[in-house]
Point group: C3
Amino acid sequence: MPVSLGELAIQSGCELIGDPDVEVGNVASLTNADAQSLTFLSNPALKEQLSSTKAAAVILRPADADDCPVAAILHDDPYACYARMAGVICPPPEYEPGIHASAVVDSRASVAPSAHLAPNVVVGADSTIGENVYIGPGTVIGSGCSIGDECRFIANVTLARAVRIGKRGIFHPGVVLGSDGFGNAMTPDGWIKVPQVGGVRIGDDVEIGANTTVDCGAIDDTVIEDGVRIDNQCMIAHNVHIGAHTALAAMVGIAGSATIGKRCLFAGKAGSVGHITICDDVVVGARSFASKDITEPGTYLASFPAEPAKDWTRRVARFRRIEALQDRVRNLEKK
Amino acid sequence: MPVSLGELAIQSGCELIGDPDVEVGNVASLTNADAQSLTFLSNPALKEQLSSTKAAAVILRPADADDCPVAAILHDDPYACYARMAGVICPPPEYEPGIHASAVVDSRASVAPSAHLAPNVVVGADSTIGENVYIGPGTVIGSGCSIGDECRFIANVTLARAVRIGKRGIFHPGVVLGSDGFGNAMTPDGWIKVPQVGGVRIGDDVEIGANTTVDCGAIDDTVIEDGVRIDNQCMIAHNVHIGAHTALAAMVGIAGSATIGKRCLFAGKAGSVGHITICDDVVVGARSFASKDITEPGTYLASFPAEPAKDWTRRVARFRRIEALQDRVRNLEKK
Amino acid sequence: MPVSLGELAIQSGCELIGDPDVEVGNVASLTNADAQSLTFLSNPALKEQLSSTKAAAVILRPADADDCPVAAILHDDPYACYARMAGVICPPPEYEPGIHASAVVDSRASVAPSAHLAPNVVVGADSTIGENVYIGPGTVIGSGCSIGDECRFIANVTLARAVRIGKRGIFHPGVVLGSDGFGNAMTPDGWIKVPQVGGVRIGDDVEIGANTTVDCGAIDDTVIEDGVRIDNQCMIAHNVHIGAHTALAAMVGIAGSATIGKRCLFAGKAGSVGHITICDDVVVGARSFASKDITEPGTYLASFPAEPAKDWTRRVARFRRIEALQDRVRNLEKK
């Protein structure tokens, strides 16, 4: 959607150095931008690309303005400013209100007139779909769900049952919400399933990536607070509670009944054991996992980067003799 | 479904201390229970919550009965007893027999009259669906599959082909069974696909969590025995064999042709390399993986819990000098 | 499909020792083969099974021919030869051209007459489907996609938008392509979504396993070159570039903007951090992850195999005292 630089600058309260009437219609990287493109310079390592950019305008820090060969939009956080402006230039697709003929809506469900239900959508009993919701093809909304206004389900999303979602949520393909938690009691005759009767509560402005799963609670609900961002293929077990604005990168696993604070960051493949509490503002590094309560904000790690196989193998062998080494040192100390 | 305490106690052969005619209609935690709730006390750490519970009845160990302010159901394993009773109070939803108008059933498929096929279900050629099976919306049953009585497929499950399942299985949304194993032969021109012609055989009383995948065998079948429980986002590769009553927590990966014994437990993100055999009654800890045959029951580990980043980083640096350290000790010993 | 041994040998340019008119109609393992079966001997550990095989013919190395009790097909790489011949005997199922009545194809989409669209397929605007493409039940092809000739989508695959695929690709159930990358900018008010406007470009002869996700690029495209093989439940983040003929085993995660070379191998649960470059012909071992550029071909590792819990726990405790140990050695050296 073409927008003038002047309008973008006014919307974001930025200073513009350049012609306010020039329109931009797409976003691009510094090197691939053309005369219709808006781009940005946030990472100092890319500064060398600035002088040759062909963009209509570059969002950058005031200190970089003098080196900008084209129109400049000044902001102390160019990436956040870019995010906002790109959202104006490239808004999500719009859909006509209505329910496709192939969609199946239970007679006890309620769908707002402004919602769009794509082909093969199924909505179960006692579920309500809010205003301007987009439900993409093949999505199944089970019974007892409540979907807030302006949520978007891209395609083939599944809500098993009893999922309540706030406003403006985005749910990517293959997401599963409200599936049964892993509750089993061992008996002499084998496992007995423990019925999972809780639901899932999700706040406003939550985005959940492709093929991520969020289980319903065993008895009480699983809870994801406002503004949480979850990447693809994460696993949120039953009765987990995730604090507002926490972000989980791909393949993170949070085990049952763990409580994660606000504004935490879990890097790729990180995670947490169950039944622990992690305070606000904790960062857990890639492939690292919290194994007990964390009460101090900060960064926590437990992963080894890959090394050439022969170095690594030798070190692992030495590691396996670490006790013997310690004994030898003790012997030396005695002498 | 409201049930009297007396009936619950009789069904489970438990002693009831309290009025047998009182009915319970839901389950709840000790702290959230109301006068219609059944709850339980299994974890001693929660004992302090007992005195203030408002439940209709609490399932607990005989030793805790004196401290129970309400009706008490006595059992040595309160959690298993709760699992059974909760299954009575909160049974899975029931569905009318029948095939939804939007379901597509191949003319060479066979569907029992008591089965329920929800909207947009597809059943392929030469597949048979047993009595009282529930097939939720969007589920695709490929060709050559056989589904035992009383299985439930919640929604958007996919059976690619040649999957044979016993009775009473539960398959959560996004589960994929019978997809091709990862069989590729390298040649000077690149990879050639190795056709995956085996199937999947799954026993009775198996439950498989959301977005878990079980590949078909390369030539012979992939096998999951009776009573196995698999959590979300696990990966069972081609020709794996999983023994009865083994449980895999979320994100476990079992590589091709591994044989896992009976009653094993794999914690979250644990796994096994391929082509090995793990005996019965083995526990593999969170994020740990078996790399060779295990012949002794017991617990096996290989993961480090996360630590504050500066501690961890320092230790990794030292670990990288572990060989030098060993050399220095050897030098000292020589002197 | 029954084929004569003579025809198989001619197609692959192999020497046949045995009757060229004998037909084989299935493939089997050495031990389960019957008089209609083709089998192979590649792994020397299985040589003892050769003498008792009941197969019609065995593909094996010339050196093993004398020990073969049945017809022998000689090839220096029996597994690759088996892959080719099995592809002839067990070709993928064929489908009649046509669009099922329940499929929904946008008026601005283009579908080749020879393509097969199964029940409940949805094809979005401005998407094109090539010749002889098979699109299995429940598959959603979003807008702006391009599918090359002879691609196969088994079932319930989702292409969100802007995915361009070459010829002969195979996409297993639950695969998600073109979902939004994980782009978020932190602000004092919480995260802002960074619109993900790039697409996904996939070459010829690519196979992607069940429930794997490939995100679209943030601005430029995510790229997967020709002949890449990806197993189940892998995660390819935005703007990753994967070189030709690279293979990723199950549960591999490649973080954003990583560039992976040609002919690389990532074992199960391996991965790479984002924004690094890995050269051609690199092997990353199971559960190991590349954390910085790799410029030398070879094998890289960083995982510990599981050990009995008490051994492991003791070693981890010693590891935590590794700095103290080093200090003690230093003290000894000073003396």
